[in-house]
Symmetry: C2
Subunit: 190 residues, 2 copies
């Protein structure tokens, strides 16, 4: 038996799929484009993803959720006045590096619910986890639980929205303004 069990190629495909989802959305991401962008062949894709396109897309979204959630869990250990600018700066840098073509893949998954319900549901659960993490961070700073939950929801929603505004306007201004206002708001809530 050979059993190479080489996960590198599969991971590379998953990453490429994520990148394409960020640019073209769930519906706009095809196996042919993933093949072109990752350099393999169509046969390889069905080897790594027997479930076809659905499995490939779902894995890409799961992978992105795992990665981003870990990042947010880390940010939640910092003071909010640091965590919020860091989170926004991450998206700003990603947007700018792609010339404002690549947004949040989780938001893309959320909006692809009509054709792909599973990634959309996963996105909903991921957002809930992110809100929880932010709320915990705010509770640690002395904000009551109910208010912390509401402010956490506002923060996640505002950052996701700011990324969309930034892509449409090809500008980092929305993200910067939103970060400033969120920090000021959390500061005032303490």
């Amino acid at each position: 038996m050979a059993r190479t069990a080489n996960p590198e190629n599969r991971d590379r495909i998953v990453r490429t799929t994520r990148d394409l989802i960020r640019r073209n959305g769930i519906q706009g991401t095809t196996m042919l484009e993933v093949v072109k962008a990752s350099g393999g062949s169509r046969g390889s894709l069905y080897h790594y993803f027997p479930g076809g396109r659905a499995e490939m897309v779902e894995d890409a979204v799961r992978s992105a959720i795992d990665e981003y959630t870990a990042g947010i869990e880390y940010l939640a250990t910092l003071p909010a006045a640091q965590a919020i600018p860091l989170m926004v700066e991450f998206w700003r840098a990603e947007a700018e590096a792609s010339d404002y073509a690549a947004g949040c893949p989780i938001a893309a998954a959320a909006l692809g619910g009509a054709s792909d319900p599973v990634p959309s549901r996963l996105a909903g659960e991921a957002f809930a986890g992110w809100i929880d993490a932010f709320a915990r961070m705010l509770v640690n700073e002395g904000i009551p639980a109910d208010r912390a939950r509401a402010l956490g929801t506002l923060a996640i929603a505002a950052v996701e929205g700011a990324v969309i505004l930034g892509l449409a306007q090809k500008s980092s201004t929305p993200m910067e303004l939103v970060a400033d206002q969120l920090v000021a708001l959390v500061d005032a809530a303490q």
Copy 2:
């Protein structure tokens, strides 16, 4: 010459296209589905939109922008404490009525920039106008211009983000929490 000049059918097609964009995004909206949903024939579509799919999609986005912008301009004549809940309530009702399948078509246009740059650019301009309107409203309530602009950006971004969170979670909670927090924030800023 007959020259019926009957814009009703064309308008119905434009509206159907908008609805499909809200559910399936720009890339997920095809002429065949528009024909199926609006009841006409493919020939009619090319009669009304000689530019093909691109013209149809662009007109749908322009129409949506015109309509929503008029609504926001009206909201901006009200006190912010009324305007913000009304705006959120509109999206909440639309989301709920569609069983959390239909979001904001302008956000969908913003995210479709890779394949359709024109609607994405229009979305960016529309967002700028909405932010201006909100900022004017806040200036009227005594908030300094710079702060008003930042708060207006935060409000538009947060509402758009809350709609996405709501669709993913199939819940109106994100929109309600965001509306409450935005009202409290504007109230405190005066």
